[in-house]
């Protein structure tokens, strides 16, 4: 029974992606262009050359972080919609550290990343504390903090740490930039992201801590009655997911952008939520979906330049994937569908659902 469920669970995101691409193709056709040609351009733009591929990975990198952030939080039943703010605060803290503390070299990189992570953790802890002490809705609080963080970042690069007349901060020191992985043009932050996904998978499914997080996410009352420290676990999930996003922000700063300016980190937060939901909260799945989103982002700009197809088609495809993926998960949980699955397997036992 579990096996069938696992297969179905895997099928849903895959089917959703396919359907979304088909609909995207229809939209492209309505614009008078050839979908095949358009998708060819898209994939070429993302994978065509090793440089392009490297760039795709670098674009996917921050999405992996925000995706993991949202996935980990939601595993504990917590809706951390503040990934964007936590990401940005991490970057802001890192740039402040890089520019103001005179950091240099690998030691400096380490310090700056850790600070970014801690800043994200704190920013994530705020809605967490509000939730566990006062029961306040964490979606609203975390989103408010997103706006505060973005505005604060704006203040930083137009005012506090401004570089002359351009509204942006100075670039970080050369020695603080993340080096590329050997033989590639992708900075090592990407590898860190992938390793983090693997590590989180291990933690969530193979440790007692992860077990407790999952239990709290599924049934906090029963978790409490069975001795789990529910409030502590919830707060920790906010802190950890915030830290992940914060780290992502620092890595984006030091690996790719090197300075803060208008549009830094924009959209990564909500995309992360979408990624987590499509991947059904599986960390490795999230990394894969983030990669797909990276492909879409990178490829769509080539599609736009060479075929004049608005890059927002890619956003629509992304949005459709999530609509179908989430709808698909709901569909299989419908009693009607469940019965279909049951009939497939039910032979010898009494473990039935429908009772008089």
């Amino acid at each position: 029974m579990r096996k069938t469920e696992k297969i179905v669970a895997l099928l849903i995101p895959v089917l959703s992606i396919l359907i979304a691409f088909i609909i995207g193709g229809i939209i492209i056709a309505c614009l008078g262009k050839s979908p095949i040609a358009a998708y060819q351009k898209l994939f070429d733009g993302a994978f065509g050359t090793s440089t392009k591929f490297a760039q795709t990975l670098e674009i996917a990198c921050p999405l992996i972080f925000t995706g993991l952030c949202a996935a980990f939080a939601y595993k504990c039943g917590v809706f951390n919609l503040g990934g964007e703010g936590q990401f940005i605060i991490g970057a802001v803290t890192s740039i402040a550290a890089c520019l103001l503390l005179g950091l240099k070299g690998p030691g400096g990189v380490f310090v700056s990343l850790v600070l970014g992570m801690l800043a994200g953790a704190v920013w994530g802890a705020i809605p967490g504390i509000m939730k566990v002490t006062r029961g306040l809705n964490e979606m609203i609080t975390s989103i408010m903090l997103n706006y505060v963080a973005t505005l604060f970042m704006g203040y930083v690069y137009t005012n506090l740490l401004r570089e002359g007349s351009t509204p942006q901060t100075p670039a970080i020191d050369e020695s603080l930039k993340l080096a590329d992985l050997p033989g590639t043009k992708t900075h090592w932050g990407f590898l860190l992201a992938v390793l983090l996904a693997v590590f989180l998978t291990y933690v969530i499914y193979r440790t007692s801590f992860g077990f407790q997080i999952r239990a709290v996410g599924m049934n906090p009352t029963a978790a409490r009655f069975n001795g789990f420290r529910v409030k502590k676990l919830i707060l920790l999930s906010f802190i950890i997911s915030g830290a992940i996003a914060g780290l992502g922000g620092s890595i984006e700063l030091q690996g790719k952008q090197f300075r803060l300016m208008n549009g830094f980190g924009q959209g990564f937060g909500f995309d992360g939520v979408a990624i987590a939901l499509i991947a059904q909260l599986n960390p490795i799945g999230a990394a894969l979906v983030a990669f797909l989103f990276g492909v879409l982002r990178k490829g769509s700009s080539s599609m736009q330049t060479s075929m004049k197809i608005p890059s927002s088609v890619a956003s629509i495809i992304q949005a459709l994937i999530i609509i179908f993926a989430v709808g698909g998960s709901a569909l299989i949980r419908q009693p009607g569908f469940q019965k279909m699955l049951n009939r497939h397997h039910d032979r010898s036992t009494e473990g039935k659902g429908a009772q008089a």
């Binding site: 029974m1 579990r2 193979r206 440790t207 007692s208 801590f209 077990f211 407790q212 999952r214 239990a215 599924m218 049934n219 009352t221 029963a222 978790a223 409490r224 009655f225 069975n226 001795g227 789990f228 420290r229 019965k339 049951n342 009939r343 397997h345 039910d346 010898s348 036992t349 009494e350 473990g351 039935k352 659902g353 429908a354 009772q355 008089a356």
Partner: protein, 502 residues
């Protein structure tokens, strides 16, 4: 007597499973017709068909001789069928008046004409001696009053046939008498009642006719005068019903739990604990008797560390408890079979394996390095062993517990709670909703645990269960202890009065 309802050859299938099969039921005007059967016999399904929530797979329904199709609750109401559910369908945020007029269509005005409607309802209430206060919010009325509101709701919608589903489960003896008075008034006015119950004493007192259901089918329909309690019990079970008789013990062992002047008042004004003092010893079963809603939940939760008392001290095995926290109690070998197995006891979306080791994920048997790496194979093997040992019916130990039957869910919980030989077991309504087989299993497990030296605090609203299993009986009423009685030859009448507050 004129025929009111006739259900002919009704069957209801869910997939391959027959919840009702070939059921024939006839109800006459002015009678109380009891549907008797144990949990899972198909009574609720049959009634859901009658009120239009389910469509029968087979069969017809006739009302006053005319064939009808009850395709929705609205239609059933139109035909004069009303139901008082076991779990009341009252909106807490509204007043009694608002609950009564909810969804009513015979007054099709847009605005609520309060004065006119209140007058109508009050007249109806007076006619049947139903004491209610229309402007009170539902949260402030007693359980008995809530039931009267439900009855009035049905009458206001013109019900001639009233279905009462386990109406006495939540009432004290006195309130039951009040209810029976109302029932007699109703049948005197030519209304009919379908009375659903599995409590023999009450069935024998109030019924005109009795239909016994077993495994979805009608076993027999008889008139009250033609039968006895023993007959009915046999018909319900399907074999010579000889109840298990358990030997009672007088425990002289160490005290494992001691409540000393414990009080707790944090929630609604009906529940709460008032200066409770009692002890539980090793190797005995203490049964807390009383109608649900008198502080039982709070007592159980205080005894397991879920809530913290406002006053008094709790002593666990000679040590006074300072920290009220479920984990601390679990560490002291206190086990808990909670009152709501799905909400409090099991993580429904986790498998049987995972639920069995819920409290033990840091145990070296199941993980390395205190939880750093779970030993999935060890966990699986353990679950398999338990499945066989306790005969847990499932497709595999990987099955999600939410898909198990109630009895098997309770088995999972019991296995988890008893396998580690606890010193104290707190079991709350442990056999609620379970059929005879599962109930027996639960009692057996508790007796065995007791004989191994475990102290058991059992809270139950099922008086028969209390009598059957307890070594000592404590009656709880409005959060106070009314009396402590021996389990051997208990003074039943005295205890009944105590449960009603005398």
């Amino acid at each position: 007597m004129k025929e009111l309802l006739r259900m002919v050859n009704i069957s209801k299938q869910f997939g391959d499973f027959y919840a009702n099969k070939n059921v024939y039921l006839t109800v006459y005007e002015g009678e109380v017709h009891t549907l008797l059967g144990e949990n899972g016999a198909g009574k609720s399904t049959l009634m859901n068909v009658l009120i239009g929530l389910y469509q029968p797979t087979e069969g017809e329904i006739y009302l006053r001789g005319k064939k009808v199709r009850l395709d929705s609750p609205k239609t059933a109401v139109k035909y004069g069928i009303g139901m008082v559910h076991q779990h009341f369908m009252l909106v807490e945020a509204m007043t009694v008046f608002e609950n009564i007029i909810l969804g009513v269509t015979h007054d099709s005005s847009f605005f609520i004409n309060r004065d006119k409607l209140k007058k109508e309802i009050q007249e109806l209430a007076d006619r049947y001696d139903l004491e209610i206060e229309l402007d009170k919010p539902v949260t402030e009325i007693s359980v008995g009053e809530q039931q009267r509101v439900e009855i009035l709701k049905a009458l206001y919608r013109g019900a001639d046939l009233l279905i009462l589903d386990e109406p006495t489960a939540v009432l004290t003896d006195i309130e039951v008498k009040g209810l029976f008075q109302i029932i007699r008034k109703l049948i005197a006015e030519n209304k009919s009642i379908i009375f659903i119950s599995h409590k023999m004493r009450e069935v024998l007192e109030i019924s005109t006719e009795i239909t016994v259901l077993r495994a979805g089918q009608v076993v027999k329909t008889l008139k009250r005068e033609e039968t006895t309690g023993q007959d009915l019990a046999n018909l319900m079970i399907g074999r010579e019903f000889s109840p298990n008789v358990y030997k009672k013990v007088k425990a002289e062992g160490e005290t494992v739990l001691e409540f000393s002047h414990i009080s707790y008042h944090k929630e609604s004004k009906h529940a709460g604990l008032n200066d409770l003092t009692f002890t539980v010893h090793r190797g005995e079963i203490v049964g807390i008797a009383g109608v649900d809603g008198n502080g039982q939940s709070q007592l159980a939760q205080a005894a397991t560390g879920v809530i913290k008392p406002d006053e008094g001290t709790l002593v666990l095995e000679e040590k006074q408890v300072a920290v009220f926290d479920p984990l601390a109690f679990i560490m002291e070998d206190v086990s808990h079979v909670p009152e709501d197995r799905n909400k409090m006891g099991l993580i429904g979306n986790m498998s049987i394996e995972e639920n069995l080791v819920l409290k033990s994920t840091r145990d070296p048997r199941f993980s390395d390095g205190k939880g750093a790496l779970l030993k999935t194979k060890a966990i699986h093997d353990y679950a398999e062993t338990m499945r066989v040992k306790h005969d847990i019916r499932c497709t595999s130990v990987e099955q999600l517990t939410k898909n198990l039957s109630g009895g098997n869910q309770q088995k999972v919980i019991l296995t988890r709670e008893l396998e580690n030989a606890p010193k104290l077991l707190v079991a709350v309504h442990p056999t609620r909703g379970l059929d005879i087989g599962a109930t027996d299993y639960v009692h057996q497990s508790m007796i065995e645990a007791r004989d191994r030296g475990c102290g058991i605090l059992m809270i139950s609203a099922d008086f028969d269960e209390i009598l059957k299993v307890s070594d000592r009986i404590i009656v709880l009423f409005e959060g106070k202890i009314m009396g402590i009685y021996p389990g051997e030859n208990p003074p039943i009448e005295e205890i009944s009065f105590a449960m009603a507050g005398k």
